[in-house]
């Protein structure tokens, strides 16, 4: 007898059945709002172009831009630009991760450091990263280091703050329980405080990534280094040559890359939350 025919199970919701059709439907349910939004944007864009508000060499129609985008994918120079930008992002973010995490632990553990740096870290988060560049260029010249410096400054405070608030918000009952179980000092940190802080830390990472990506794009527009054709440099270059289709195509690339990494962090956050039964907060 198949399980489905079992009368005892007949009252179960259809949602309980592992059914490949259902899975296909649920993927569709997750994807269609995004797809329709994109379609809507394309339609509006096309409509605006058709009104003749701006000449086509300034505001090209979607088809031209998409053709340009397709052309990018076959162009080795484009892939070089992508790899230069991504490498900068990853190196900068990794540094910010190390610095922000270290700073977060230090500040949360030491009363003196907290008094000294706590509000400064929050303040740093509100500082527009582009405001750092004149100083960074003064310090490092038009170099990779100037860009890296600002990327780290943009991302590290968010990461540190995420960790600090995670550590500050460990539920007191869990701390009491851990102490009765014999956890003290470093052991308490390693086995209780840090794991408990993880969801907030991951939220900080996600925000840190967003800041790093923005700082990086600002940096690539301002700090142009010879023979380093990054995405930002390409953007600048297309503007100078008034190549609107390529310019918009490049913006789409930057948007998609940023979203892709953001999705990775969202996924990570969702897994962490689901493991703890926190569910996803829908607003």
């Amino acid at each position: 007898m198949k399980a489905k025919d079992d009368p005892a199970l007949a009252t179960l919701e259809p949602a309980d059945w592992p059914d490949s059709g259902r899975r296909r439907r649920s993927i569709w349910a997750a994807v269609w709002p995004g797809l329709s939004a994109i379609a809507l944007v394309l339609v509006i864009w096309e409509a605006v172009v058709l009104t003749g508000w701006k000449p086509e060499y300034v505001l090209p129609p979607p088809t031209t831009v998409l053709a340009e985008l397709g052309g990018f994918l076959l162009d080795s120079k484009f892939w070089l630009a992508v790899s230069i930008t991504l490498l900068r992002a990853l190196v900068g973010f990794s540094l910010a991760l190390a610095i922000g995490t270290g700073l977060g632990i230090a500040v949360s553990a030491s009363r003196v450091l907290r008094a000294a740096l706590g509000s400064l870290l929050t303040g740093m988060q509100t500082m527009p990263s582009i405001a750092w560049f004149p100083f960074a260029i003064l310090l490092f010249g038009l170099t990779e280091n100037a860009i890296g410096f600002v990327v780290v400054l943009g991302a590290a405070p968010s990461i540190a703050n995420g960790l600090i608030s995670g550590i500050d918000n460990v539920p007191p009952p869990l701390l009491r329980t851990a102490k009765v179980l014999g956890a003290r000092g470093l052991t308490l940190y390693r086995y209780v405080i840090l794991p408990s802080a993880l969801p907030t830390y991951v939220a900080g990472l996600k925000q840190g990534w967003a800041f790093a990506w923005r700082s990086l794009m600002a940096g690539e527009l301002l700090v142009i280094i010879a023979n380093r054709p990054s995405l930002g440099v390409q953007l600048q270059y297309f503007r100078e040559f008034a190549n609107a289709p390529a310019l918009i195509a490049m913006m789409i690339v930057i948007l998609v890359l940023g979203m892709a990494f953001d999705a990775v962090f969202s996924r990570l956050a969702a897994v962490v939350r689901r493991n703890r039964g926190l569910g996803e907060t829908r607003l």
């Binding site: 009491r176 851990a178 009765v180 956890a183 052991t187 086995y191 794991p195 039964g277």
Partner: protein, 249 residues
Amino acid sequence: MSPAPALTVNEVSKVFTDTQVPTVALKDASLEVAEGEFICLLGRSGCGKSTLLSMIAGLASPTSGAIDTHGNRVGMMFQDANLFPWLTVRGNIELALRLSGIPKPEWDGRVQDLLAMVELPDAGQKRPHQLSGGMRQRVSLARALAQECRILLMDEPFASLDALTRDTLHEEIARVWAQRGLTIVFVTHNVREAARLADRVVIMSPSPGRIVDEVPIGLPRPRRLEQPEVAAASGKLRELLDHYDLKAA
């Protein structure tokens, strides 16, 4: 000959000074608990039961007086199970084993034994949020036992459970207590629970929190909540509580 004491509370007071007016949460409490004894602390809200328990657990220190646990390891269960949500049931118990310095090769066997003891042999891979309230308290009990405590402090551990589940857990705790020869200090404001479980009921009274009386419960075990003797004993406890309340007012 009376058995050796497992826990001695000597003239302990606790004053909280972080409030607007200093609060005397506990005044001159003295108590001696014998090895293997099951004590219930009974009293109304705010009479210092949790305060006393957390001082015995070493989570807070007395303002005056002294507490001696005679070298016994102390475990504690709270009203909420307080399982670590990022760990599985097995992970929660293993953390307790790790923190007690029990060598890793023994963990598997011990986890199995403990889970069997609380009648959850197959729950090891579950996450705390996937368990019912009663199951969570069972895991919490298993975790407390994992650290091989000799004194188990329980702060209204079953207060948030339904009557049926509580009844099962009463049976379980009485069984574990007898099997392991534990010394238990159990906080409750439920007279029937006290009469059902305790060898001796310590009655406390609020403002200021203090110990006002002790009542031995000599009923044979196993006991059941429905027994007329248990009902009679809880009636007597209720009268005593009311009596001390009137006196306080």
